[in-house]
């Protein structure tokens, strides 16, 4: 197991950013606050909009996101034990709300459908006066809501969204993503796969037929091919597919010895269950044991697939078993309040809420353009992922990525994954104009009204 190390390059970059920020304080950071933007809070409260799936296939994940947001609001308002506010490197948050205004929230149901998510976000902005929208459990939803927030002039702090496009071709100035992405999964997984399964493998991809599936397939394909693997076939599977047997059965005939399941949620649960039923993992092909890989893991998926995940490699954004101070503080306050450890979706949502609040405090204003400036190239630590940079070029967070595998002997229904490696941020960093992210333009921030 390797741990994240601060690289020389990273240190210089950090120093440069910190120095630049200190020398040239942006106008917004000096301003006392601005009116003249959408939903400028006037009373002694501020309303945040939590847009999570409360119905549909990701309702359980949405429920966990909402728990995290409620915890974040409690901490922001000075309740509870403060959680990661105590370990967060920025000390702007005082536990007295945001800029002294008590934090209130409204919730919307994305249903994991782009149109429903836009409608609920719009309602929270127009009717409830939400000054920021956050949450979600799908890239389709994130991209749609992000575009809406850009038009409406509010900040969008993305929840769980892993497609490259969210901060690639569909990036927007008002949108920010803390969660990692397909490229990072590929870059983190490839060396671990090479070390465990060798560099001479024939891979067969099954890919969910939508945006996230494509970017994940591309990322895993390019990073595994770069280390010598061959891609035998890549087959698209309908998003509504429930039985994958007709896609799994031809895998062995193709001569492949590795199956990559670019599936999420119910798709992944079913395709992995089917693959294990077909006995793929007991087979020997090309003189090697057949292997299955799941590029993106979530706890709910691992739970749904049960014992089938044992020993299968994948990646996650965060895991509750991390031993750093931030993670432990979060697990403690979440676990004490709800009785079980938080999921990675809960973690990213909690962090996003705190990051937004902190940016407003540092900017001294709720004005979205001030918040954008405060978040861009902001470097922080103590939030469970080590040193993290919110890159200004594409509003993507850069931090260590966890490579995990299904645990052989889980002790509880939450103890399903074990961390195999913490891939240092340098290994998953890419240029903003990398081909997998090309074609996007942040544009300029929109403060709205």
């Amino acid at each position: 197991m390797s741990n994240s190390k601060l690289t020389r390059r990273g240190l210089i970059k950090t120093g440069a950013v910190a120095g630049a920020a200190g020398l040239t304080l942006p106008t917004y950071l000096r301003a006392d606050g601005h009116a003249g933007f959408t939903n400028a809070p006037t009373g002694d409260t501020v309303t945040l909009g939590f847009n999570v799936p409360q119905s549909g296939p990701y309702a359980d994940e949405g429920a966990d996101e909402l728990r995290a947001y409620e915890l974040a609001v409690e901490h922001l308002n000075g309740g509870g034990d403060g959680g990661m506010m105590n370990t967060f490197s920025s000390k702007a948050l005082k536990g007295n709300g945001i800029l002294g205004k008590k934090v209130e929230y409204v919730t919307g149901d994305t249903q994991t459908k782009s149109d429903a998510a836009r409608a609920s976000a719009r309602s929270m902005i127009e009717k409830d006066g939400a000054v920021m929208i956050t949450g979600g459990s799908s890239s389709g939803v994130a991209v749609a809501v992000q575009a809406l927030c850009q038009e409406a002039g509010v900040i969008f702090m993305a929840g769980l969204t892993h497609s490259n496009d969210t901060t690639g071709k569909d990036r927007k100035a008002n949108g920010f993503r803390h969660f990692f992405n397909s490229y990072m999964s590929g870059a983190a997984l490839a060396p671990v796969l090479a070390a465990n399964y060798g560099t001479d493998r024939k891979a067969y991809h099954l890919t969910a037929d939508y945006n996230w599936g494509y970017t994940t397939e591309e990322a895993v394909k390019s990073s595994t091919e770069a280390m010598g693997w061959e891609t035998v076939a890549a087959v698209k599977t309908p998003l509504t597919q429930t039985d994958f047997s007709s896609y799994i059965a031809p895998v062995l005939q193709s001569g492949a010895d590795t199956l990559v399941l670019n599936h999420y949620g119910g798709n992944m649960v079913n395709s992995l269950t089917n693959a294990v039923q077909f006995g793929l993992r007991d087979k020997q092909v090309n003189g090697k044991d057949f292997q299955i890989i799941v590029p993106l893991y979530s706890r709910l998926m691992a739970k749904g697939a049960g014992a089938n995940v044992k020993g299968i490699f994948g990646s996650t954004n965060w895991h509750w078993s991390l031993q750093d101070e931030g993670s432990q503080a979060f697990v403690k306050s979440f676990g004490t309040k709800y009785g079980f450890p938080p999921s990675q979706a809960a973690h990213t949502c909690y962090v996003q809420a705190l990051l937004y609040a902190d940016a407003v405090e540092r900017a001294g204003s709720f004005n979205p353009c001030a918040v954008v400036e405060a978040l861009e190239d902001f470097e922080f630590d103590g939030m469970g992922n080590g040193k993290t940079l919110y890159r200004g070029d594409d509003h993507q967070c850069f931090k260590d990525v966890l490579v995990v595998k299904g645990k052989e002997n889980p002790t509880s229904e939450f103890d399903l994954l074990e961390i195999v490696e913490v891939t240092p941020v340098a290994q998953v960093t890419y240029e903003p104009d990398h081909p997998q992210f090309a074609g996007g333009n942040l544009g300029t921030c929109n403060p709205g009204a």
Binding site: D243, S246, A249, P250, N270, K283, G335, T336, T411
Partner: protein, 343 residues
């Protein structure tokens, strides 16, 4: 050749599920004249019977293990199933392992009960109403049932594995003289196919060889005349509704290990099952079974790599395409009778 055999095999288990659901749909339609959109929900509830029984079998009491710590550093609470206390750990584990097959016994009374309650409580009030009303009320009922299940079991799929003895797959390729590993087929899917064949056979035998079945068939052909002969056909039709519900439920129970049950699985099958019924011919039991297997196999073929290369996207539309062709050439479906839904 081996690829073709493989996809035929693959189509069989999917076809089995379609056939079992379509069989129940047709039984209800043929006897009661009701288009039951809640039938997929019955399939889903069947699968949740398996989930429920495995939860009952693993009902536990907690003991505190001071030697281990939980994620918050407190002493670990270990769940010990009551069944261990009764039968000991080895026998207890074996019983838990066989939860799905045991659920067959558990689900029959549950499903027949639900079927009776549905028919007596709601659907009987809609016999004389237009088909559109029946569709609306049963579709609404399906959504209600789905939400009830989601409330109690959550939205996430729940793994419900088959007994250990049936894990792994059978190498047909080696048996038929092809290269090893070219035609493999999971044991549980073979079990599912055999189970479906038995259930379908039993339903046909029941209708064909028993007096009860004869009366039901007579009622299906001419309800009024049978009623005039002094036979209480309504009561028999209610029983048929219960049987149809049990068939859908059993299809669901045995399907649970194939794909982890979730609250939405009924809807996934419902639309396809209606296509199956229409292709087979409204009101025709053998048509439903035939069309179920036919469409299951065609769907498997359509997702073959070689086919997708020539016709991309065919896997998503094949069933509807075949339905259109069959309905254009045989408007009553493959084995439809004259006069059904044509008044």
């Amino acid at each position: 050749m081996d690829a073709i055999i493989l996809q035929v095999l693959n189509g069989l288990d999917k076809g089995s599920a379609y056939a079992l659901i379509a069989l129940g749909l047709t039984l209800i339609f043929g006897t009661l004249g009701v288009v039951n959109f809640a039938h997929g929900a019955l399939f889903m509830i069947g699968a949740f019977c398996a989930v429920t029984l495995s939860r009952i079998l693993t009902l536990s009491h907690t003991i505190i293990d001071d030697t281990k710590k939980d994620f918050l550093g407190n002493p670990l609470k270990v769940e010990v199933p009551y069944i261990y206390d009764i039968f000991g750990q080895t026998t207890g584990d074996a019983i838990i392992d066989w939860a799905v097959p045991l659920s067959i016994l558990f689900s029959i009374p549950v499903m027949v009960g639900i079927g009776f309650a549905m028919e007596r409580g709601l659907i009987k009030h809609f016999y004389k109403r237009p088909h559109a009303d029946q569709i609306l009320v049963t579709f609404g009922l399906a959504i209600v049932l789905q939400e009830i299940i989601k409330y109690f079991y959550g939205a996430n799929p729940i793994p419900t594995p088959a007994p250990e003895a049936f894990t792994g797959s059978f190498d047909f390729g080696a048996m038929l003289g092809f290269d090893p590993n070219t035609i493999i087929y999971p044991y549980w899917r073979l079990v599912y196919f055999a189970f479906s064949a038995i259930i379908i056979g039993a339903v046909f035998a029941f209708l064909q060889f028993t007096t009860f079945g004869m009366v039901v068939r007579a009622g299906m052909a001419d309800r009024e005349t049978v009623g005039l002969l002094g036979i209480n056909i309504d009561k028999r039709f209610t029983i048929m509704f219960g049987i149809a519900a049990a068939v859908a439920g059993l299809a669901g129970v045995m399907y649970a290990p194939i794909n982890s049950p979730n609250y939405h699985m009924g809807m996934d099958f419902l639309v396809l099952s209606f296509v199956v019924v229409v292709v087979g011919g409204m009101g025709s039991l053998s048509g439903a079974v035939l069309a179920g297997f036919l469409l299951g196999i065609l769907e498997s073929f359509a997702s073959m790599g070689a086919v997708l290369e020539i016709l991309p996207g065919i896997n998503q539309i094949i069933i509807y395409l075949v339905a259109i062709i069959i309905l254009l050439t045989r408007p009553r479906g493959l084995m439809g009778r004259k006069g059904v839904m044509e008044e």
